[in-house]
């Protein structure tokens, strides 16, 4: 098979993967960690520990706060100092458990050996329970609880598990490093998820700019010999790693607006998630570590790292370990340059989904003044969802909610291609993101009203029987 890619839109930013040769280093432990209770999509977790409790590495410290939520485990051993709101990287208060680090005593149930365990347990439900109990969430960006995604609604059948190794965001190299350094674990994780999903095939999609990762993953697939797993080379094109784009590229199917990937028989998981699933199921190790890239444009090589970090380590502390913030940095970003969040509070803590600290220089990141739209249509050409950003921007300014919904503002995946490619530097995505929120609000309100009406009708109909 040739190189695959999605069918519409997309841009080609320079990949800037300067930290690709930096092997993963393990960070030392700080004195204090702050574990956020909102590290996943969905309801925040509820703390189960009290101030003064002593905890071990891997011990549960919070339980899910709803159906879509996840367990949180202590990343260190020590004493709980406080359970209080603390500012996240956007400066908004979020409940955190503060733990003073004492030694490094792990929960004895965790297998800390490096031995590869290839035998996959038979019991599907037990595997799912283990994934849930270990607090595994999607590490591709959205941090959606993995056990929910791996357990499709009745009647929905998974035909293909797509493992996302595209890492299409420029600069980021954490997925690349784990594909180089831990390919076998990732493949075993994929085989476990295949099993959970009822034995569907699995495609590992990797962009063409990572030939070493393609080679190492292919070798691991061949060596381990699980049936139905293949490595697929993808073209280098952003946002190749977007869930909907990846399904389009690999399966040539498109998820309907408002639908889920499973509707077209697809389940997409990140390679990092696969590693977490391996560690959870085979090693009983909860999701308390992840790999994060420290890099940026025009910064010296000695400030660039790929770190294995414990969740809850403050960003400022990690940055200090990495050699400090370079002079040239004008903006700090958590995540990639296309979809990551700007850090306004470096004291914030790392969470399960942290993938990078990116330093961007003034000239790389400063926005240019907005000029008039010249109707070149480059935004529409770039939109991987086939939307017309210039139109959505205009409708948003006119507060035309109906028009926005008709033109599918709710389908926006916030990939940033429109703003990236606008020659007039119009802040398209800034506005469309708002528009999307407003339209989603309308759609939700309508759905709720329809549900209430249906229930009322049902209630009215019942006495007649």
């Amino acid at each position: 098979m040739g190189k695959l890619t999605f069918s519409m839109g997309g841009v080609h930013p320079h990949d800037s993967k300067y930290a690709r040769e930096c092997a993963i280093e393990e960070l030392p432990l700080p004195q204090t960690v702050y574990v956020s209770m909102a590290q996943h999509l969905g309801a925040p977790a509820k703390p189960l520990v009290a101030v003064g409790d002593s905890v071990k590495v891997g011990q549960v410290i919070a339980e899910p706060g709803g159906f879509i939520s996840a367990f949180v485990h202590s990343p260190v051993s020590g004493t709980v100092k406080s359970i209080a709101p603390r500012k996240d990287l956007a400066g908004n208060p979020v409940m955190h458990v503060e733990i003073a680090v004492e030694g490094d005593e792990w929960d004895p149930a965790i297998d800390r050996s490096k031995d590869l365990v290839t035998a996959i347990p038979d019991d599907r439900a037990a595997i799912l329970d283990r994934i849930k109990a270990c607090g595994v969430v999607g590490l591709g960006g959205a941090t959606f609880p993995t056990h929910v995604k791996l357990n499709p609604a009745p009647g929905k059948v998974a035909e293909c598990l797509i493992l996302n190794g595209a890492e299409c965001e420029p600069f980021l190299t954490s997925d690349y490093r784990i594909m180089i350094e831990r390919p076998k674990e990732i493949v075993v994780g994929a085989a476990i998820m295949q099993k959970v999903l009822g034995g569907c095939k699995c495609v590992i999609g990797i962009e063409e700019n990572k030939p070493e990762a393609i080679a190492s993953m292919s070798a691991a697939v061949r060596e381990l010999g699980y049936p139905g797993i293949e490595v697929q080379t993808l073209k280098k094109r952003y946002p190749q790693g977007g869930e909907k784009q990846l399904i389009d590229a690999v399966m040539h199917r498109q998820v309907k607006s408002g639908g889920l990937p499973i509707d077209v028989g697809a389940v997409v998981q990140n390679v990092g998630t696969s590693l977490a699933v391996y560690e959870a199921v085979q090693k009983n190790k909860p999701l308390i570590t992840n790999v994060l890239t420290i890099t940026g444009d025009k910064i010296p090589g000695n400030l660039q790292h790929n770190y294995l970090f414990r969740i809850g380590m403050p960003l400022s502390w990690i940055v200090e370990q990495a050699g400090g913030v370079p002079e040239t940095a004008a903006k700090l970003i958590s995540g990639g340059p296309m979809m990551g969040k700007a850090i306004s509070n470096l004291d914030a803590t790392t969470v399960k989904g942290s993938s990078s600290v990116l330093y961007l220089s003034e000239e790389a990141t400063r926005r240019q003044p907005e000029t008039g739209c010249i109707r070149c249509g480059k935004c529409a050409d770039a939109c991987p969802m086939g939307l017309e950003p210039f139109l959505l921007n205009r409708l948003y300014k006119a507060a035309d909610l109906e028009g926005l919904e008709r033109n599918a503002a709710q389908d926006c995946i916030e990939c940033g291609c429109c703003l990236y490619s606008c020659p007039a530097h119009i802040p398209l995505l800034d506005n469309i993101r708002q528009a999307k929120g407003q339209v989603m609000g309308v759609i939700r309100a309508r759905a709720a009203a329809a549900k209430a009406a249906a229930e009322a009708a049902k209630a009215a109909a019942e006495p007649k029987k």
Partner: protein
């Protein structure tokens, strides 16, 4: 040549007549019968179509007023009592007078009071900025300074002060339609009673952080110390979530709270004289001393009485 002109004139005349007839017929055929009072009411409305009343525009307001059985649920904030009296007289209702209101910006986080901690570089919209993060200062509650309220105001009553970075309300233009209060994502702008001759007291801060954090973020923050609430003789001040609030229906404009506030978060506007803090503080101290004396006197009184009081 002459013939061409004659023909042209003739054809255009016939065409004009024909179209006029069609228009006349259509107007007759599709005429909508409306209560004539709707027009009358609409005529006395301000005609700003601002939506401050909760209706789509002035005509929608008029339509609802004509159909309503009383005007209790309707109020035109722009026209105020004057317009409401006119509407009432047209429709034969009576309306109670309502105190005129004005938009009040409850943030004093000027560039001087509230140091910037980062630099915002996105689209100049408070809504977008608020959705992104807590703001470019350490105060997560204060004014974001992008002027969504200014854009929302149809009466030109709001403007950004480049010196302070905060919006300023022009009281003479403000109609209290409430558009700005809805536009502000931080809910800083509040409609308050204008007060006698425009005099009013308000807490110019909505920071819910604990005292030290609030103070660190902004020199003029309400730190929730409660001194104002303790001082107030009229029970007008409450402190919830580390921020004080003055109930304008209870406030008697004695300005004691303003005098005792340690951070200057309480503002009094349109008073004829500047506040003499020391004098007011002395007045409070005297009153306290008197009260203490009275308490002492009460304590000296026979023991039995006190027991009764306690029992």
């Amino acid at each position: 040549m002459t013939q061409t002109i004659i023909w042209t004139v003739a054809i255009l005349t016939v065409l004009g007549l024909l179209l006029a007839l069609i228009l006349f017929w259509v107007a007759r055929k599709f005429k909508v019968e409306e209560d004539p009072r709707i027009d009358e009411v609409e005529k006395v409305m301000p005609g700003a179509n601002c939506g401050g009343c909760g209706f789509a525009g002035c005509r929608a307001f008029a339509d609802a007023a004509v159909k309503a059985t009383s005007l209790d649920n309707q109020y035109c904030p722009v026209g105020g009592d004057e317009v409401m009296q006119k509407v009432a007289s047209i429709l034969g209702f009576t309306v109670a007078a309502k105190a005129p209101q004005v938009a009040v910006v409850r943030c004093n986080g000027t560039c001087a009071n509230r140091p910037r901690t980062n630099e915002y570089d996105g689209v100049q919209s408070c809504r977008v900025k608020a959705a992104l993060y807590s703001g470019d200062t350490a105060c997560a509650f204060g004014c974001l300074g992008c002027g969504d309220c200014v854009a929302a105001c149809q009466f030109g009553a709001l403007s950004m002060d480049p010196e302070t970075g905060l919006p300023v309300v022009d009281e003479s233009k403000c109609t209290a339609c409430g558009a700005c209060t809805k536009a502000c994502p931080k809910h800083i702008i509040e409609l308050r009673n204008k007060g006698p001759r425009g005099m009013r007291e308000f807490v110019s801060c909505v920071n819910k952080d604990k005292g030290p954090a609030a103070k660190k973020a902004c020199a003029a923050a309400c730190i929730g110390c409660g001194l104002c609430a303790k001082t107030c003789q009229h029970g007008a001040i409450t402190v919830t979530d580390n921020v004080a609030y003055i109930d304008f229906t209870k406030c008697k404009l004695c300005r004691e709270c303003e005098a005792v506030c340690p951070t200057g978060a309480i503002h009094g506007v349109n008073f004829p004289k500047e506040l003499d803090k020391e004098a007011v503080k002395k007045r409070i101290a005297d009153r306290k001393a008197k009260a203490a004396e009275a308490a002492k006197a009460a304590a000296v009184e026979p023991v039995e009485k006190k027991e009764v009081a306690n029992g």
